[in-house]
């Protein structure tokens, strides 16, 4: 027996493959997924509430799935928009994986869904490593978190296809330095769009919906330099397409044993009543 084996297997290959399949499967059914990442409390749910309400007003078929370590509060809040919502409890797991998402969508996601919003677990570290089969990865940061957030969490901000600053209504009060933030975003993710929003002041509400719809309609999403697929292929700026298959993981991981993960439990929340209004977007390109 040879004592050393040259394995050369990508560790994330299994999740990446699953994500790629899920993306293709959803696209075939006319659904584009938006993966929302931020620190705990940045305002994902608040912004999503406003965006879902707007989508409903405009007659866009959307659905939302929110993942938390505990409580069903977020799904309850989101369900007030009147769109299909599902709470996923991760039972302690700090992130969602493509496999888990696929499991939760099966038998739940309405067939006519145009956009599926996934609110990931509030955490800027772990979820950044897991492709969920999204067509648009959105990273949010509130004005209270400090301008150097993109440098402290380069994997998240570096792989974002859209960056949303939240709680813009209190930017002045907390002395948020917009230029410094933009400089830091550009350092780790040149070319990504940064938009400024406030769910409370209804500022920039609708930007997320518009960008998501554009991608769902086939527009090329921003392709971050840090994107593993971009890096692996080495042609970052050909067509801006994000849907190719990454190489370098074709070494027999497919027929291996599936590693087990708790899928947690999930609950659905019915509609209730709608809320509010659109507003002019404010955005720049990093």
């Amino acid at each position: 027996m040879c004592r050393v084996t040259d394995l050369q297997q990508a560790v994330m290959a299994r999740n990446d493959d699953r994500a790629e399949h899920l993306r293709a499967e959803l696209a075939a059914g006319g659904t584009a997924t938006v993966n929302l990442l931020s620190s705990p409390g940045s305002g994902k749910t608040a912004l999503l509430e406003a965006e879902l309400a707007l989508a409903r007003e405009r007659g866009v078929a959307v659905a939302a799935l929110t993942a938390d370590l505990a409580t069903e509060n977020d799904a309850r809040r989101l369900a007030r928009s009147g769109v299909p919502c599902k709470q996923v409890l991760t039972d302690g797991l700090c992130h969602l994986e493509a496999d888990m998402l696929a499991g939760h969508l099966a038998g739940w996601l309405p067939g006519d869904t145009r956009l599926l919003f996934v609110e990931n677990v509030g955490n800027l570290v772990c979820p950044a490593s897991y492709d969920l089969g999204e067509s648009l990865r959105v990273v949010l940061a509130s004005v209270t978190e400090g301008e150097d957030k993109p440098l402290k969490y380069p994997t998240a901000f570096g792989t974002a296809q859209l960056v949303l600053v939240t709680k813009e209504d209190i930017a002045e009060a907390v002395g948020f330095d917009r230029d410094a933030f933009l400089t830091h975003v550009r350092q780790v993710n040149p070319g990504v769009e940064v938009a400024f929003t406030s769910a409370r002041a209804q500022l920039g509400v609708g930007v997320l919906l518009e960008r998501a719809l554009a991608v769902a309609d086939g527009a090329a999403a921003h392709r971050p330099v840090m994107d593993r697929r971009t890096a692996a292929h080495g042609h970052a700026h050909d067509d801006g397409h994000r849907h190719e298959h990454a190489h370098g993981h074709e070494h027999g991981h497919r027929d291996g044993p599936e590693h087990e993960h708790s899928h947690g439990h999930a609950h659905e929340h019915g509609p209730d009543q709608g809320l509010s209004h659109p507003h002019a977007p404010a955005h720049v390109r990093g």
Partner: protein, 126 residues
């Protein structure tokens, strides 16, 4: 801490390779870890030791090979070490059309198998 999920994926892949090679034990697993891969080698080592328990990898050592981040500018052809946090705009001309050459790696490079007890006994008897 997603290092646990990653460690479990590593263990899973090595278990599979061990079956394919008829290996009875694992001495070391060497991982290539890019400095921009988003994992902390120390956390990974800790999780790995837990994930190995009760498997053919029990007692295996995890060795991580650091891969530096490097980028190239499509505009001027300049190349540089990205550092952490990475500088991904061109450090020479400032252009944003750049590409990452390395730094996102997270892969099992090699596995060193241990002599299993059966084989050790067979050797002793010789």
């Amino acid at each position: 801490m997603h290092e646990m999920s990653i460690a479990m994926a590593v263990v899973c892949q090595v278990e599979e390779a061990a079956r394919a090679h008829g290996a009875e034990g694992v001495e070391t697993v060497t991982l290539s870890v890019g400095e921009l891969a988003g994992v902390v080698p120390d956390a990974l080592r800790f999780s790995f030791s837990l994930a190995c328990e009760g498997t053919v990898l029990a007692g295996a050592e995890l060795v991580t090979e650091h891969v530096a981040g490097r980028a190239r500018c499509e505009s001027c052809g300049g190349e540089w070490a990205t550092g952490v946090p990475p500088r991904l705009c061109c450090t020479r001309c400032g252009d944003s059309r750049t590409r990452l050459l390395s730094g996102r790696e997270l892969g099992i490079a090699t596995v060193r198998w241990a002599e299993g007890p059966q084989r050790a006994r067979a050797l002793e008897e010789l």
